[in-house]
């Protein structure tokens, strides 16, 4: 990563325009051509520095459901249970955390009612209770990472 890559990451974490040639519009202030900007984004993605480039969809605003769920998984079953949880396409993120509740995952569904089915399926498939922690209120979302 050089200074230009950092500038791309720092300026493009939102506000990408919806127009005919958006890369051209964003390239100019960075002192790049559209082709140069595209090549850098493709490389940053290939190198795993950026995980996505595009719209971030908001499940709840699309009429779906989103929740955070946590489980207490016995250490010797951790990988097996992670496999079962991750096999559900509705599980969008899953993290191991250092606590008695040691597995925390996000469930995003397209249709209301599906969340309960997914959580029940995970409980049935693992034999471990799932703590459902849907948001009651959102106070803030939207960090920009400084590269």
């Amino acid at each position: 990563m050089d200074e230009i890559d950092r500038a791309i990451i720092n300026t493009l974490q939102g506000g990408f325009p919806i127009c005919d040639q958006p890369f051209a519009a964003m390239a100019e202030p960075l002192g790049l051509t559209a082709a140069q900007l595209l090549a850098r984004i493709i490389k940053l993605k290939a190198d795993g520095i950026i995980s996505r480039f595009g719209p971030m969809w908001h499940a709840e605003r699309m009429g779906g459901e989103l929740t955070l769920a946590a489980m207490k998984v016995p250490q010797e079953r951790f990988d097996e249970v992670a496999g079962i949880v991750n096999s559900h396409p509705e599980v969008s993120q899953n993290y191991a955390r250092e606590h008695a509740l040691n597995m925390w995952f996000v469930v995003a569904t397209e249709k209301p009612g599906r969340k309960a089915e997914v959580l029940a399926g995970i409980e049935a498939g693992t034999g471990i209770p799932v703590h459902d922690m849907p948001k009651i209120q959102e106070f803030f979302v939207g960090l920009r990472f400084e590269a």
């Binding site: 974490q13 958006p22 971030m56 969809w57 703590h131 009651i136 803030f140």
Partner: protein
């Protein structure tokens, strides 16, 4: 508020859930995949952005790759009657990426306010958690910081 998505909106979601095509005219490429005009793609995405079905459009950095190795879920036991004030104070901190009120699961989970922090060093993460503790003061009756030790899955929304 929710945005009702019709079949064409849904096709746009499917065409972009892995990201925008990395080509000079990405919305034209989405239009080709969905089978509608580029103008219609752009008009619909403008509307979905305005309605909040799209949070934002741009780069999602892999924060681990940028050196943010200490990603902590800080959780706070705040009395229900103080949650709005506590949430406002913590949500206003510029280093907090997400801040939510979530239900307790007593007896083993008394925490109701969640705030995510990200740091390159453990000491910095600790000091960020300490700053949250300072702004909450007596509103917090106890807290924990749960660092993620492993990413088990991270794909984003899939239809």
């Amino acid at each position: 508020m929710t945005a009702a998505l019709d079949a064409i909106d849904r096709a746009i979601v499917v065409a972009t859930q892995d990201g925008l095509p990395l080509v000079d005219r990405p919305y034209h490429e989405v239009a080709r995949q969905v089978g509608i005009s580029p103008d219609e793609v752009m008009n619909r995405m403008d509307r979905l952005l305005h309605e909040g079905a799209i949070r934002r459009i741009g780069v999602v950095p892999n924060h681990y790759a940028l050196g943010y190795r200490f990603n902590g879920m800080t959780v706070w036991d705040v009395a229900d009657e103080h949650i709005a004030e506590a949430g406002k104070r913590v949500g206003d901190l510029d280093f907090v990426s997400h801040c939510y009120h979530r239900p307790r699961h007593l007896p083993d989970w008394p925490y109701s306010l969640f705030a995510m922090i990200h740091a390159k060093e453990k000491a910095q993460a600790d000091s960020l958690a300490e700053r949250i503790a300072c702004v909450l003061g007596d509103l917090s009756r106890g807290h924990l910081v749960l660092f993620s030790s492993r990413i088990l899955k991270k794909t984003g929304l899939r239809l």
